[in-house]
Symmetry: C2
């Protein structure tokens, strides 16, 4: 089986859409954008032993490749529409490819995304996805715009993926599922984007990504005991300080972090119902120029992990 057979294998399984004038199989794809909508574009690559390990099911790698990108569009409040896939494979392995496509195209279909093009090369495994979405220009949220007094709000629960990564083979299935099968918060993103002063997805860790929302003298207080923890995390990690480390410092949860004005934060329960996912207020922004993490007594904890950097030692 050669390059063109592999491409044909992918083409047969890719979806279709009226918006796609020309899909897989030409030099480039031709797409009909929706008049009046802004185009929202992101790319994320998955690398072996960095984002996943050799023991992962190919379908989980495919799922993660799509959802890591979906999460970036969720953080803008955009609707995902079209994907391109640049796949570098160490060998011609149709079985692996079929499993990968189960997860990748399954996640695409479930979120209204059509795979319109791509490229296959041979080399060390690398999965680069480009995802295009659309949003009404006035409804797009960005990282910049948080103000003192805004509430810090997160979706879902934090720390599950980091705990799964750290516990390895000892991690319970529910935590591993969060690491291998994250769910981008697309509906929550659309709902929060129209109300938030700033919005970001938590891929590097809560505190690291919170840092990306700060500008000028903006600071924040985070109430550690209010960080939402899943039942699985509470059961698997009994020690509160260790749990906080996963929640505040660990990445890969793909939840959203919003800076919500107080009046919007007051209707959080209603927004959570519309989004189909929990939303929790975990602190607020101030003009202190720094981030303080407080325990239940209001004492500061200063030794929490700073989050993920691909090139840190």
């Amino acid at each position: 089986m050669g390059e063109f057979d592999l491409i044909e294998r992918i083409r047969r399984r890719a979806g279709a859409s009226d918006s796609v004038v020309l899909g897989i199989g030409d030099d480039a794809a031709v797409i009909r954008p929706t008049p009046g909508m802004a185009l929202v574009a992101t790319t994320d690559a998955l690398v072996l032993d960095r984002h996943f390990t050799a023991d992962w099911a190919p379908a989980d790698i495919g799922h993660l490749a799509m959802h890591a990108n979906l999460s970036d569009l969720a953080a803008m409040g955009a609707n995902p529409r079209w994907a391109l896939l640049a796949l570098t494979l160490p060998k011609d392995d149709p079985g692996w490819l079929d499993g990968f496509l189960d997860g990748f195209l399954g996640a695409a279909e479930a979120t209204g995304v059509v795979l319109v093009g791509g490229n296959i090369s041979s080399g060390p495994l690398n999965i680069a996805v480009e995802l295009l979405g659309e949003a009404a220009p006035e409804k797009i949220a960005t990282r910049r715009g948080a103000q003192p007094g805004d509430r810090l709000v997160v979706t879902g629960t934090l720390g599950d993926a980091a705990a799964a990564l750290d516990l390895g083979r000892d991690a319970p299935e529910a935590l591993i599922a969060r690491l291998h099968r994250p769910q981008a918060r697309l509906q929550a993103g659309r709902i929060l984007a129209t109300r938030a002063h700033a919005l970001i997805d938590i891929s590097d860790g809560l505190l690291a990504d919170l840092g990306h929302l700060l500008h000028d003298d903006l600071g924040a207080e985070v109430r550690l005991d209010d960080l939402p923890a899943s039942n699985a995390l509470q059961a698997a990690v009994a020690e509160p300080m260790q749990r906080r480390r996963y929640q505040a410092g660990g990445g890969n949860d793909y939840e959203l972090l919003a800076a919500l004005p107080p009046e919007a934060a007051r209707e959080l329960d209603r927004l959570a119902v519309s989004a189909g996912v929990a939303m929790t207020e975990i602190g607020h922004f101030n003009d202190s120029g720094r981030v303080r993490c407080l325990d239940a007594d209001g004492d500061e904890l200063a030794d929490l992990a700073p989050g993920w950097d691909h090139f840190s030692p």
Copy 2:
């Protein structure tokens, strides 16, 4: 220097455009498409020891990464507009990155492309580029539509890059330049797209890419002695049969191959002047269902290389 410093290093050098509402630095880029235009999207990844070797100058790798993608848009007749870059680097090496950006962003600026976003991971070197362009829907050319009687037309010269690859260190500088610094035929693509029944770029080799234009009973005759050769190729490869192998089977030239109706082929000299690059008629399509390569006496040569497949042995 960490991931975010590297991203900042790229952001400072990326261009700007009124069409870019939000560029590098958020979860995704926000682009304002031109009303009425179709979006044309492609992706191509470069892999070490497959598309380039360790002795390549980083700037040449950057140039190739951009032009390999530009060439796909040229083959549709589209105007390149916006790029995303998913870079996987084995180590934190600002010197390499700066050199790479010289070539990559230099090629972008020269062709009106703005880098709007991307991603950096650590791992085996892999450069995945996604390029977005625009075209009026009625002016887009595809691979499908060639008809019996159409003339086979190529831009520029063929075989230089393949000869450089094969001759290695013995290759003259002019041939190496074609391999390391190909020029996507954007203007020729726009001109040919409005006249051609089918259009493709020659990245895998003339005969391999010609194969992608065939459908149903369509066949073609290629006159080998009419394949355009550069002076450098004629000087470096004196043996005619070896030269033909490079020209017919070698990839990486990034010229265009068009199926032009006879009336358009008659004004080829004028089109070439407008495009700023040579255009040569090298044969024609017929209804034979196969490709025949003929020498000057009209005899068939059947043993030419089939072109490039990433997973062939």
